[in-house]
């Protein structure tokens, strides 16, 4: 986040500047030297953070920095800090007591000759964990443009958020300025930058508003770059969040995270990866859905006309298990470079099991999986809707030992999922649902090309895989959307 312009009382004075606090043994150690230096040096200024009667400077007095304005704006992390200033600019600084540095800075070769050679400093009050949030609000809060809303004194914070219609049905963390500023430390982007235009109301959302909703969802600052990339991916014509939120169908955004960021932020790609228990998995997806609700206006019963909905519309987000996967990752299969972090969004609902505990031959297992996929959505409906296949480690081992890679599995499934039209037409199997009779003599693919993305993940044990059935696929509905991200700046592409 860009630093705001520093106030006048944070301006560096010319010459030498020392910053100290009384509650620091090293500062107390150097206090007699400071008195000496102030008396003998042309331009020597001392700032004190905690007690303006310290240090004793004889006829002079230390500058009062109990507001920590000077320390905050000059990035003082340790006391004592000694800074050399020329023409208003910092030339160099030294922290703690290092005799050689202090002698060098002051030009006094005898300085502190009776003191130990070195003593580490203490933490500056401006970085005290108990104060730092309050200081961030005081010094950078003006950067935040969102309207401040004051809850009434007797109002419970959590009930107040429910009352204002800001939640998905679960409690949210109140998005105070301090929490939002802390969230924004997760990235290096201007809070005012527009991230995307959020459907269904087509409202521009800023980095700041994404951060506010990420706070409410329970995200940590290090998740924010993933949330931003996911919001960008969701709000594309390709992914079609507009149709997805408005449809009577079940689906919501399913977010798959690839690359080093997944481990760095502690995402779950193993046991229970689609279930509860992992903060990043649960809150990243939740933040995206809160943004669709709070910024875009996608509210159930209003624009969101889903007939049954799906628990995944709260949060459906997991990482791919890349370390021991027999397949190239989902992101790489979509053109992302190895080692690059990315999110891929898929329009889907909850997982359905594929049970096969006996196949040890890859072709047998592929047939097993295909037979379950055949009935996804409806055994007689083909091509229109997508599905995501999540292969478990134990099933993955069968493919790995048989020498099958991603392409081999994809190709075999496509062969196995060519369905005779005679089984699909209306009235076939005594079921009216199905295709017009003209298709009786054709073979049709269950899934459109690209309509069956494969992901690897899950716990070590369990001879099951999952199918996440999807929504209308491709240009007629939703296509998978991938965004890469720079995990430090949160910039995506």
């Amino acid at each position: 986040m860009p630093e705001p312009t520093a106030p006048m009382d944070a301006k560096l004075p010319e010459g030498l500047v020392a910053v100290v606090k009384r509650d620091c043994a090293t500062c107390t150690l150097v206090a007699p030297l400071l008195k000496d230096l102030v008396a003998t040096h042309d331009a020597f200024t001392v700032y004190v953070q905690d007690d303006i009667s310290f240090p004793d400077l004889g006829n002079a007095a230390p500058k009062d920095d109990t507001s920590l304005t000077f320390s905050w704006h000059n990035n003082i992390e340790t006391v004592p800090t000694l800074i050399e200033v020329a023409d208003g600019e910092e030339v160099r600084r030294t922290v703690g007591w290092l005799r050689s540095d202090w002698q060098n800075f002051t030009g006094r070769t005898d300085l502190g000759s009776d003191l130990p050679e070195m003593r580490p400093g203490c933490g500056s009050l401006s970085v005290d964990p108990n104060l730092v949030d309050e200081l961030a609000v005081r010094f950078t809060g003006s950067k935040l443009k969102s309207r401040r809303i004051e809850f009434a004194a007797m109002e419970d914070d959590f009930e107040a958020a429910f009352d204002r219609g800001w939640t998905d049905g679960l409690p949210v963390i109140p998005p105070t300025e301090a929490r939002v500023l802390r969230m924004l430390t997760g990235i290096g982007r201007d809070p005012g930058e527009i991230v995307a235009t959020v459907p269904p109301n087509l409202v521009d959302v800023t980095v700041e508003q994404v951060a506010i909703n990420a706070v409410m969802a329970g995200c940590k600052p290090e998740y924010l770059s993933v949330v931003l990339a996911a919001v960008e991916a969701a709000c594309t014509d390709q992914f079609n969040m507009h149709g997805l939120i408005a449809t009577t169908y079940f689906s919501g955004p399913v977010i798959v995270v690839n690359g080093p960021i997944a481990k760095r932020i502690g995402m779950n790609a193993g046991g229970n990866l689609m279930g509860q228990g992992n903060r990043a998995n649960m809150t990243i997806g939740r933040a995206v859905n809160l943004i669709i609700r709070n910024i875009g206006g996608g509210i159930p019963g209003q624009v969101d006309m889903s007939m049954h909905g799906s628990p995944g519309k709260l949060s459906f987000c997991f990482a791919e298990r890349e370390d021991d996967s027999p397949f190239t990752s989902l992101a790489q299969s979509r053109g992302v470079a190895p080692g690059q972090s990315a999110v891929t969004l898929f329009a889907g609902q909850g997982p359905t099991p594929i049970v096969d505990q006996l196949s040890r031959d890859p072709d047998s297992l592929a047939r097993s999986i295909a037979s379950v996929l055949r009935s996804t959505h409806h055994p007689k409906l083909v091509i229109g809707m997508d599905a995501m296949l999540v292969i478990s480690p134990e099933h993955g081992k069968v493919f790995a030992e048989g020498g099958w890679d991603r392409t081999a599995l994809e190709e075999r499934l496509a062969e196995l999922l060519e369905v005779p039209g005679s089984e699909l037409i209306r009235g076939a199997a005594f079921v009216d649902e199905g295709l017009p009779p003209d298709f009786a003599d054709s073979d049709l693919p269950k899934f459109r090309p690209g309509g069956l993305p494969i992901v690897f993940g899950g716990g070590d044990a369990g001879l099951f895989s999952s199918v996440i059935s999807g929504w209308v696929g491709g240009p007629m509905g939703s296509d998978l959307a991938t965004r890469t991200m720079d995990s430090t700046t949160g910039a995506s592409s």
């Binding site: 969102s146 401040r148 004051e150 105070t176 506010i212 409410m216």
Partner: protein, 91 residues
Amino acid sequence: MTVVLNPTAGKIAQGLAAAQRPVSLDGKVVGLLDISKARGNIFLDQLEAELTNRGLTVRRFSKPTFAKPAPVDLRHEIAASCDAVIEALAD
């Protein structure tokens, strides 16, 4: 007392007044918009026959897909060329 930042778009949608309904359809052009759901066309074929029998001019339109909003050009075309529109949501 807690102060929080507004998590919403901060705008309240203004209700739009519905267009004036024609008192009579005599001599009017009626658009029939198929949203491309299965069998919507059956319903609209029936309506077209009924309206044509009454001597009205009928124009047919369809959305490319039911899963996305109607393209803005299509909405403009309907607004510019019809006095009234009937949209079929049927499955």
